[in-house]
Subunit: 356 residues, 2 copies
Amino acid sequence: MSEKETEISQLGEFGLIDHITEGLKSVNDTTACAVGDDCAILNYPADRDILVTTDLLLENVHFDLTYVPLKHLGYKAAVVNFSDVCAMNGYPRQITVSLGISKRFTVEHIEALYAGIRIACEQYGVDIVGGDTSSSNQGLVISITCIGEAPNGKAVKRSTAHDTDLICVSGDLGAAYMGLQLLEREKAASAGRSDFEPDFAGKEYLVERQLKPEARIDIVRELAEKGIVPTSMIDISDGLSSELLHICKMSDTGCRIYEDRIPIDYQTAVMAEELNMNLVTAALNGGEDYELLFTVPLTDHDKVKELKGVHVIGYVTKPELGCAMITRDGAEFPLRAQGWNPLAEGNEDKSLKVEK
Amino acid sequence: MSEKETEISQLGEFGLIDHITEGLKSVNDTTACAVGDDCAILNYPADRDILVTTDLLLENVHFDLTYVPLKHLGYKAAVVNFSDVCAMNGYPRQITVSLGISKRFTVEHIEALYAGIRIACEQYGVDIVGGDTSSSNQGLVISITCIGEAPNGKAVKRSTAHDTDLICVSGDLGAAYMGLQLLEREKAASAGRSDFEPDFAGKEYLVERQLKPEARIDIVRELAEKGIVPTSMIDISDGLSSELLHICKMSDTGCRIYEDRIPIDYQTAVMAEELNMNLVTAALNGGEDYELLFTVPLTDHDKVKELKGVHVIGYVTKPELGCAMITRDGAEFPLRAQGWNPLAEGNEDKSLKVEK
């Protein structure tokens, strides 16, 4: 801690809360009363469904502060929750932010973290309405709950895909995972060297995808504008395979996707080559892209083609056909959930089980 | 871990979630869709205000598993959130439960914890609608968000007490704190002794107040039945002094409370005597009683007297008079917030700064 930094104990819990929530303004009509009481008060009209999601982020399980700046971490912690609301075809409106803070953090650290959260909220039109703050003897703990809305009955679930529906995905896949590999590589290279400068030249996109993901609220808006209501939707946090299997299992369907239709950025491909990794496996199983995976009726094919940055990668089948990818040479390759399982053995190093 | 216990890695994240949420049924009309998707879907009528609160509980900061059974911990973790909703004069309806679980916990441990949460939810008519589950390398982390309701505009804030209002408190104070002292004493006495049997004879009430607190939803119901709308309300989690100062600061008022009116149980008094502690200080500053502290207009005096287990302990004054307790001998003793501050130095041992 440098001389200019402030110990959190100087402010105490209530002082810190006052400090970091200073000047917060709500932008949503549905926020009747934000921070400062036992509860926040919200008021949603009856024609709205209310969406609730929550994410728990733990230091050295979900993030590594060696290479994740606190401001980026705050931004990402908020955005991953917004993404869950977007995955229901909804709009995020409020969040609560709970922080467990260990002794090595100063007021300035928490300011940086909170600044990232506030920037994300401003960007997405979300109000911070409450939270909890505590000391932690376990590193940094971030728990965010997000509340959002969708018109009554219009929230899109995972369980409602139908045989013959088209499978669509926004953006490109595997980049966030490759960004993580790059950051881990530079971390390893920097070990014990104070003069080390990480080299991200030509790979800025990968680093940005890992450190500053976005929720695809633009896709939710575009779907509404074009009058497309997906039959099912999920966001890709654990990898395309894993999410697609969720949709198929819950909808009681199978699926076919085409290897050559999976959208992959050029930088992702270059990085996979450098690391001698199978590119498609990384795109299938690498998590944290926070793109939207959704299905639409076959009759929406022409409308979907007009969506910017959305790719049709396959179709939904009857359940007995199972879930598979059709490779470039026409072979069928069964999909498996190899996404990051934070409760499985051997995953403490945060690396995905991406196989060659 | 005994032979009969199951490692969590055998189930993985999704397996564990499926296991612990098995057979969950929603009892509230406002719960349209509970666990199993990116978000829960709630549907509240427009004449309801929606209340949102959240609490983060960390092992060895907020609880000590040496003497807190996991089932009790689960119950308490849920109830403290319900209490925040009751503190707005509202009714809890839904919760999300996020858990960070370290390696030393087995599936059976998490079953016990979750059983406590489920019992609390059944008891209070609350639905579990979502959550997040992750590994932790930092001990147990529990983050619960509760959503509740109150009729439009009827949620009671902290900031709306008025000069001359009566100050009321439910139940009795200081018992949960004395229960903690007792548990800590028995823990110290048991150190290194495998044959040790803790002695709680005659102090069962104190242990229960600490390990199994209740949210005063009965008081919220009774207030509604009697047509009493408090002018301000808060729940006592950090101690009477601290909460009263919150109300007075936010309402821009002062207050006077009478030492001899503070409700204290006989067991609390005996324990304070045994530990050579100042009883009133413990009742003023001991936290975790989760009783309701509220103010009512002077004209409600007769109605309030009919409320079972509610005591009028003083009155609200103009702000310039400050906040004070009038002692038995008629002296004025300024109130100070000495409640547990989890972000202050020297509080790692979880002990309150209760002074003689």
